[in-house]
Symmetry: C2
Subunit: 419 residues, 2 copies
C-alpha cells in the first residue's frame, strides 16, 4: 500500500490509526439507505437519513463525546473540555439516487478521527468537534446548505423553517417530527470553532484523470441558479405547425446556445439544465409551458453575470421569434468562497510530508465549508472520484484514496492544533 | 343572424328548433368541471366527469329515452322502438386544462337533437341514439378512444380493463367505483347503428382562418405515438462539460431535427413532443435519463413510417455521437380512417341546402368516429375553432357556429332517415 509511510509517521506520534476498522465502518454505515440499482435513498430527514444519524449519535456517545443538536438539526459532537475548537465534518443526506461517498465520507472519517484521537490518548490543545450538517444537498428543501446556513448565521430562522418540500412538508415540522429540533444556543455562530476542515470526494474527474492523491481547493466557485419559463399555447397535437406556439422550443433553443457558450469557456464555467417541467405533459398536447433551471458555476463572478445576461438575452430573443412569453428569476446565488490561506498551506504541507501528490484546485460543488468559512478559518481536502462520477449510484472512490484522505485529515488536525 | 334561413327550413318540416335553449344548456353543462384560469378539469371518470354524466342521464330519462351503459362505461340512450338506428354522440371527458367545447359540444348538441325530435313529434323511420363515449382523450388511461374501442370490438376487454392511470388505478376498478360498469350486451358491436354522425369542433385553424362555416372530413389521419428514451450519466452539476453524458442533449437534438423535417412537409405531417420526463429532475444534477413521446400524424401512412424511421435514425445518431443509450417503442398506432362516402355527401348537401359554406378536409385529431366507422356508416361535422385553439382553456367557438353545427346535424339526420 502506498500510504505505509504516512501510517508510520502518524503512529510514531502516538496515534493508533486503524485503516481497516475505518474502511469496515465506512462500508457498513454508507450502506444505510442504499438501494441496489437505484443508488442512495437518503433525502434529508427521511427515514434512512434519521437511521444513519441515530447510528452516528450512538457511536459518538459511546466514545464519550458530548452530542448536541442546534436549531437547524445539525449534530455537533465535542471531545475535550477546554480551549478553542478544531472542527471536522460534512453531511449524511443525499440526492435521490446518489452515491455512498458524497458527504458520508467526511462524517464517517470525522468519527474515525475522534475515535483515533480518543483511543490514542493524544492530548490536543483544542477541543475536537464533529459536525454532521442537515439538508446539505437541497434536494428535499431548497436551497442547499440549509443546515450550515442557519447555524452559521447566513440564513434567518424564518427563511429556513418555512422551506417546503415537494409534498408540502415544512422544514420546521420535519425537524420536530424526527426529533432533530435542537436549541439556538447550540448554533455554530454562538461559539464558532477556530478551524474547520472538511474532507470530501472531489465530485469531478480532475484528480482521478491526472493521477493526484489529494486536491486542495483554494475556495468554492460561485453558484447561481436561475429558473426560466416559456409560455406558449397549449394546443391539440392535431394543430398545424405554423399555428403553434410550442413552449418546448424555448428550452431546446436555449439549451443549444448555452452548450456552445459553455464549451467556449470550458475551464472557467459549468452550466447545467437539471430540472425540466412541461405542462400539461400529455402526449397529444403541444406544451403550453416549460419551466427549467440553469445552474451556473464559475470562480469568476463576472463570468457568472455575463452568462446569466447571455441566457436572458437568448430567452427574450427566442420568445420574440417564437411568439412565446418568457420569464426568469433567480432561485439562489451563492457567492464564491475563498478558503483560509493558512489552512490551505497546512493541508499542502501535510500532503508533502506524506509524499501524497496534491493539486491546488477549486471546488466546483457547493459545500457546508462555504458557510463555515464565514465564522471559522476553513479549508477542504478532496480525494479522487473515479471517472469524476458523483450524484450518481456509480460514484466511487477506492479504499486507498479513502484512507489517504483520512490520514491527511489527521495530519492536518495535528498541525493546526500546534499552530 | 346568418342561420335564419336554415331555421325556417327546419321549422317548415315541423321541427321545433330552439337555438337559445340549446346555447343556455350548452353553457350550463359545459361549465361542470371548469376551473377559472386553469381550464377544464374533467378527466375520464373523475368526480366532475361523473357529475356531468349524471346530469346528462337525468335529462335523457326525463325525455323518455332508454338509457343503457355498456361494458366500457359508454352511455347509450335510445328514442324510438323499432327500425335501424341513427346515432349521434361524442365524449364528455377532457384533457387536463382543456376547453369547454371538445367533445361536450357533440354530446350536448346530440341531447338537443333528441329533445327537438321528441318535442316536435316528428316520426323517424330509424331509432335515434345518443352515445356518450368514455375515456376518449386518453389523458387518464392510455390509449385514447378506449370506450369506443371496446364497445366497437377494436380492443379486447382484458386490454381495456387492465389499463392503469398515473396513480395506479385500473380502468375496470374505476368503472365499478363510479357506477359505470355496464353490460356486454349493450356494446355497440352487438347491435351497431346504421349511421353514426359526430358533431365536433375542428380543433384546428383551417375553417376559422379561411372563413368556412362547416368542415366535412373525408376521414381521420393516422396517428402513431412513439416513446424515445436517452440514458446518459447522472452527474453532479460541478462536473466539467467534457466529462458529461447529458441525456437532455438527446431530446434537444431530436426536437430540433424533427421541427425542420416537419416544416418541410407542413401540409402532410404534424409532429408533437408533448410529454417529457427528466430523471432525477433536480437543479444540480445532470439529467441521467430523458424520456419523451413523439406524436406523428398524417393522412398518408407512408409519411408516418418515413417519419418514424427518420426519428429513430436520428436518435441512434445522437446517441452514438453523445455517448448515450437510446431506446424507442411504439405506444400506439391508430391507422387512417376513411368515412362513408354517402354520409359525407349527405353532410355536403345539408350544408348546401342551408347555404353554409363548407370545406372538405381531414380530421387531424382522433375521434370515436374512427372506431364507429368499423361497425356503422360514419361521418363527422366540424365547426370552426377560433384561432384553431384546442386542448387549451382558450378553446372557443362562437354561438352562431355552435348553432350552425346543430342545425346541420339535424338536417343530416332527417336526410339519412329518409335514405
Amino acid at each position: 500500500m502506498c500510504y505505509e509511510g504516512a501510517l508510520e509517521k502518524l503512529r510514531a506520534r502516538g496515534l493508533k490509526v486503524n485503516p481497516e476498522r475505518f474502511l469496515a465502518e465506512f462500508d457498513r454505515m454508507s450502506r444505510i439507505g442504499w438501494v441496489e440499482g437505484y443508488g442512495m435513498n437518503r433525502l434529508a430527514l427521511s427515514e434512512n437519513h434519521v437511521a444513519i444519524r441515530m447510528d452516528l449519535m450512538e457511536q459518538l456517545k459511546a466514545l464519550g463525546a458530548k452530542v448536541k443538536v442546534d436549531e437547524a438539526g445539525n449534530i455537533i459532537a465535542e471531545l475535550g473540555e477546554q480551549g478553542e475548537a478544531i472542527a471536522v465534518g460534512s453531511h449524511l443526506d443525499s440526492v435521490p439516487g446518489g452515491g455512498r461517498f458524497d458527504g458520508a465520507y467526511g462524517v464517517i472519517a470525522g468519527l474515525e478521527v475522534l475515535r483515533t484521537i480518543k483511543e490514542s490518548n493524544v492530548r490536543l490543545r483544542h477541543r475536537l468537534v464533529l459536525i454532521d450538517f442537515n439538508n446539505e444537498e437541497g434536494s428535499r428543501w431548497s436551497p442547499p446548505l440549509l443546515g450550515s446556513g442557519l447555524s452559521c448565521g447566513v440564513y434567518t430562522r424564518d427563511f429556513v423553517y418555512s422551506r417546503v418540500d415537494r409534498n408540502g412538508v415544512r422544514f420546521e415540522d420535519a425537524l420536530r417530527n424526527t426529533g432533530f429540533m435542537g436549541s439556538p444556543e447550540n448554533n455554530i455562530s454562538c461559539n464558532p470553532p477556530r478551524f474547520y476542515v472538511e474532507l470530501h470526494i472531489e465530485q469531478g474527474p480532475e484528480l482521478y484523470s491526472k493521477g493526484y492523491d489529494i486536491g486542495i481547493p483554494q475556495g468554492i466557485v460561485g453558484i447561481r441558479v436561475v429558473e426560466l419559463a416559456f409560455r406558449g399555447s397549449q394546443d391539440h397535437a392535431s394543430s398545424p405547425l405554423w399555428a403553434r406556439r410550442d413552449a418546448l422550443t424555448g428550452l431546446v433553443i436555449v439549451k443549444n446556445k448555452l452548450e456552445e457558450y459553455a464549451l467556449e469557456r470550458v475551464d472557467k464555467l459549468r452550466v447545467t439544465i437539471g430540472r425540466v417541467n412541461v405542462e400539461p405533459n400529455v402526449a397529444n398536447v403541444v406544451p403550453g409551458e416549460v419551466r427549467f433551471t440553469v445552474d451556473i458555476r464559475s470562480y469568476d463572478p463576472n463570468i457568472i453575470d455575463e452568462t446569466v445576461k447571455y441566457i436572458v438575452e437568448n430567452g427574450e430573443d427566442v420568445a420574440r421569434r417564437r411568439g412565446l412569453d418568457f420569464e426568469h428569476r433567480d432561485l439562489w446565488y451563492i457567492e464564491r468562497t475563498l478558503f483560509d490561506t493558512q489552512v490551505v498551506k497546512t493541508i499542502e504541507e501535510a500532503c508533502e510530508e506524506f509524499e501524497f501528490k496534491c493539486l491546488k484546485t477549486w471546488s466546483w460543488a457547493g459545500h457546508d465549508a462555504q458557510n463555515m468559512a464565514r465564522v471559522s478559518r476553513t479549508g477542504m481536502i478532496f480525494i479522487p472520484s473515479v471517472n469524476g462520477r458523483s450524484h450518481s449510484k456509480d460514484e466511487y472512490s477506492g479504499d486507498e484514496d479513502l484512507v489517504k484522505g483520512l490520514l491527511t485529515l489527521l495530519n492536518v488536525i495535528l498541525a493546526l492544533d500546534s499552530s
